[in-house]
């Protein structure tokens, strides 16, 4: 049976790619944000597992920082979404394409 480390890594990679996929395909901005959060969780998994392998606390402390930054980013993103929603009435990314060329 495959070692747990290997399993965790594959779950992490899956989470990371799945997050990226939701970011590319989903129409709504909020779901895109969720995609990024998924990617960050994937990174956390990798960090935790790496910490297990190297038996030092750096990995877990890194996770702490990642979640800290993810939270800040989410707060900021949601506030921008609120303003956008109030102004545009919709959050689908398709109609935010006026700046191009």
């Amino acid at each position: 049976m495959i070692a747990t480390g290997q399993l965790i890594f594959s779950v992490a990679i899956f989470l990371f790619c799945f997050g990226a996929l939701t970011f590319f395909t989903k129409r709504s901005a909020v779901v895109a944000l969720m995609g990024i959060e998924l990617m960050l969780n994937g990174v956390n998994l990798v960090l935790v597992q790496a910490g297990q392998i190297y038996k030092n606390a750096e990995g877990t402390s890194l996770v702490l920082f990642v979640t800290l930054v993810a939270a800040a980013e989410a707060a900021l993103a949601l506030s921008i979404f609120v303003i956008l929603y109030r102004k545009y009435g919709t959050l689908t990314l398709e109609n935010f394409r006026s700046l191009k060329g």
Binding site: A20, F23, F24, T25, A32, L93, E94, F96, R97, S98, L99, K100, G101
Partner: protein
């Protein structure tokens, strides 16, 4: 052979500065009526007086020199603007300034009612200055300065009445043909500086004289040098390939034709060859080239003159033909004969041109001899002058033409044998035929047009020069009579003492000389009589057969030149320059600019504006670059 050269300092530059001052004054100040003309004549006359003074110095001094100043010097080229005068050139000086003064006088009244006389006389004086520079310069490069100066003045004078486009184009044709000729002179100068180290005539003569150095020269140098000088002479003195400009040069005022296209400019080719004669003497193949080119020019021009209707065109072709005679003399190795004919030709051709001018002036600018006729009574003085001119050019006994042409014929007979002599004799017969044709058509029988009825004689100021020239045409011949008749051989003395020894052909005994003289006289009298018979009553409407058409249209030489040389060259050149410049270089520039713009527009399509495409493109970009990094 080098007798002690007694070189005397002489203020030769004065001779040049005088007409130059005249030109400057005329250029700056526009005086009332004929004052400009008189001013120009005065300066020319002053130059004539000074040149007489120099001429008188000659029996004891063998060469006059005036060092002048250093024109420019760089690397192996050293151009000294110095002047020197050899005996034969001083005689030529007399011709240039003497005949020049007469022509200036004539032109003063001829151009009296022209509105821009100042400009005309400025050009005329400038022309005399350049001719004097050409004659007097000690260095070949100074000669070239005069050479091109004369070319420019002839361009300005031919195109003097610039209102008509025809005149301006004739001027350009003259300048361009001279320029093509001048390439030869430039090549000669390059060879001179490269191999002789100097361009001064005396320097070159020393180089040739000293056997050691002459042997060291590559064999082709002298031949190429001689041929190049001859090519330049063809350009200036209108020989076969480059004579086309002379007939068109008649577009200028008649005094210009007289001065430039009869007396002075056209003879400069012969003067230069006579000055460099020691080189030409050794080059037998070059002499034969000169001879055959000259002979064919003489014949061709004579043939063309047969059917011309314009009086000045007839005289123009006769000039080309007479120049052919002079070059034939050179080709036959007789510089004396050539120079003698130059002088006599200057006199009677100037006379003919001036008379033609007064005739045309009287006929209110009507040039066509078919419309003239019966002017004998209307213009008695012009008639006498023209008759003397025809007699002299045809070579009637004891006229100047007789002596000079006969001398050439004997020299040609000596060196080129019967064939050369025969053809030249034919040319002489043709000459007297077309000259008397023009005489009879103009002066005999009845006036054939309105202008002919009301023709009036020209003013005294025009007649006096005619008379002087007539006297000259009659008696200048006596200066060089055949050995048998006595020892009046001034011209031989002048030319030989200037260092131009004739090539020793086998001498001809007195008997054959008498025989040749007889044949020549009979030939010219016969053709004159034949012309009298044919044209006594007026123009004969000849059948337009092929020969006539050929001669009248000048053997279509101009058309051949245009269609085979000038137009194709211009076409190829301009298309090439157009294709390479506009489509080649500019094309690539505009092409690269346009492609730069298009790829820019293409690249900006990637920026769709949607965030998700940006993220996707970022990842794709990463993969692509990462792939390239690993592969490379």
């Amino acid at each position: 052979m080098t007798d002690v050269l007694n070189i005397v300092e002489a203020p030769l530059s004065w001779i040049i500065l005088l007409p130059a001052a005249g030109a400057l004054l005329n250029g700056l100040f526009r005086l009332k009526s004929t004052l400009n003309g008189l001013l120009a004549t005065a300066f020319c006359f002053a130059a004539f007086v000074v040149s007489i003074l120099q001429f008188l110095k000659f029996p004891e001094a063998s060469k006059l020199a005036d060092p002048g100043y250093l024109w420019f010097q760089a690397g192996h080229v050293k151009a000294q603007m110095g002047f020197e005068l050899t005996p034969f050139m001083s005689v030529m000086l007399l011709i240039i300034t003497g005949v020049g003064t007469l022509i200036h006088l004539y032109a003063t009244s001829y151009m009296s009612h022209d509105k821009s006389q100042a400009r005309f006389f400025a050009y005329l004086n400038l022309f005399v200055t350049s001719m004097l520079v050409l004659a007097l310069s000690s260095d070949l490069i100074g000669v070239f300065l005069g050479w091109e100066g004369v070319g420019v003045c002839s361009y300005l004078l031919i195109g003097f009445w610039f209102e008509e486009d025809k005149n301006a184009r004739a001027g350009i044709k003259a300048f361009m043909t001279n320029r093509v000729g001048d390439l030869g002179f430039l090549v000669a100068l390059f060879v001179a500086f490269a191999y002789f180290g100097t361009s001064s005539v005396s320097g070159i003569m020393e180089w040739i004289a000293d056997p050691g150095r002459a042997a060291a020269l590559p064999v082709w140098v002298l031949t190429v040098f001689a041929l190049a000088i001859f090519w330049a002479a063809c350009g200036k003195s209108a020989q076969i390939p480059l004579y086309i400009w002379l007939p068109d040069a008649m577009a200028g005022p008649t005094p210009v034709s007289a001065l430039i296209h009869a007396a002075t400019m056209v003879t400069s080719g012969i003067l230069v060859i006579v000055r460099l004669w020691p080189i030409f003497a050794t080059q037998t193949e070059v002499l034969s080239v000169i001879f055959w080119v000259a002979l064919s020019t003489a014949l061709l021009a004579a043939l063309m003159a047969l059917t011309q209707r314009d009086l000045k065109k007839v005289l123009a072709y006769s000039t080309v033909s007479q120049l052919g005679f002079m070059f034939a003399a050179l080709g036959a190795g007789a510089p004396t004969a050539a120079f003698f004919h130059v002088v006599t030709h200057a006199c009677f051709k100037a006379l003919l041109f001036l008379t033609a001018g007064s005739v045309i002036h009287g006929m209110h600018d009507e040039k066509d001899i078919f419309k003239m006729g019966g002017l004998r009574k209307k213009m008695p003085w012009s008639h006498v002058a023209y008759l003397v001119g025809c007699v002299a050019i045809a070579g009637f006994p004891f006229t100047s033409g007789f002596f000079s042409k006969d001398l050439i014929l004997t020299k040609v007979f000596e060196s080129r044998g019967v064939l050369g002599y025969g053809l030249l004799l034919l040319a002489a017969m043709l000459t007297s035929f077309y000259m008397f044709r023009s005489y009879f058509l103009t002066f005999s029988s009845t006036p054939r047009s309105h202008e002919a009825e009301h023709a009036h004689e020209s003013s005294a100021m025009m007649i006096v020069p005619l008379m002087i020239l007539s006297l000259l045409s009659l008696f200048v011949g006596w200066l060089e009579i055949p050995h048998m008749w006595g020892h009046l051989q001034y011209f031989s003395h002048w030319v030989e003492s200037s260092g131009a020894k004739a090539v020793e052909g086998h001498e001809v005994e007195a008997a054959t000389e008498w025989l040749l003289m007889g044949i020549a006289t009979i030939a010219s009298l016969a053709s004159a009589f034949f012309a009298y018979v044919k044209y006594k009553k007026g123009p004969v409407t000849s059948s337009e057969n092929f020969a006539w058409k050929l001669s009248f249209n000048k053997f279509y030489v101009d058309e051949i030149y245009d269609s085979f040389i000038l137009k194709p060259l211009r076409k190829i050149g301009t298309c090439l320059s157009l294709w390479i410049d506009e489509y080649g270089v500019n094309g690539t520039l505009h092409g690269s600019f346009a492609s730069y713009r298009i790829t820019g527009q293409l690249a900006s399509i990637f920026h769709t504006g949607s965030v998700q495409s940006y993220a996707l493109l970022m990842l794709l970009g990463l993969l692509v670059v990462w792939g390239v990094v690993n592969v490379w």
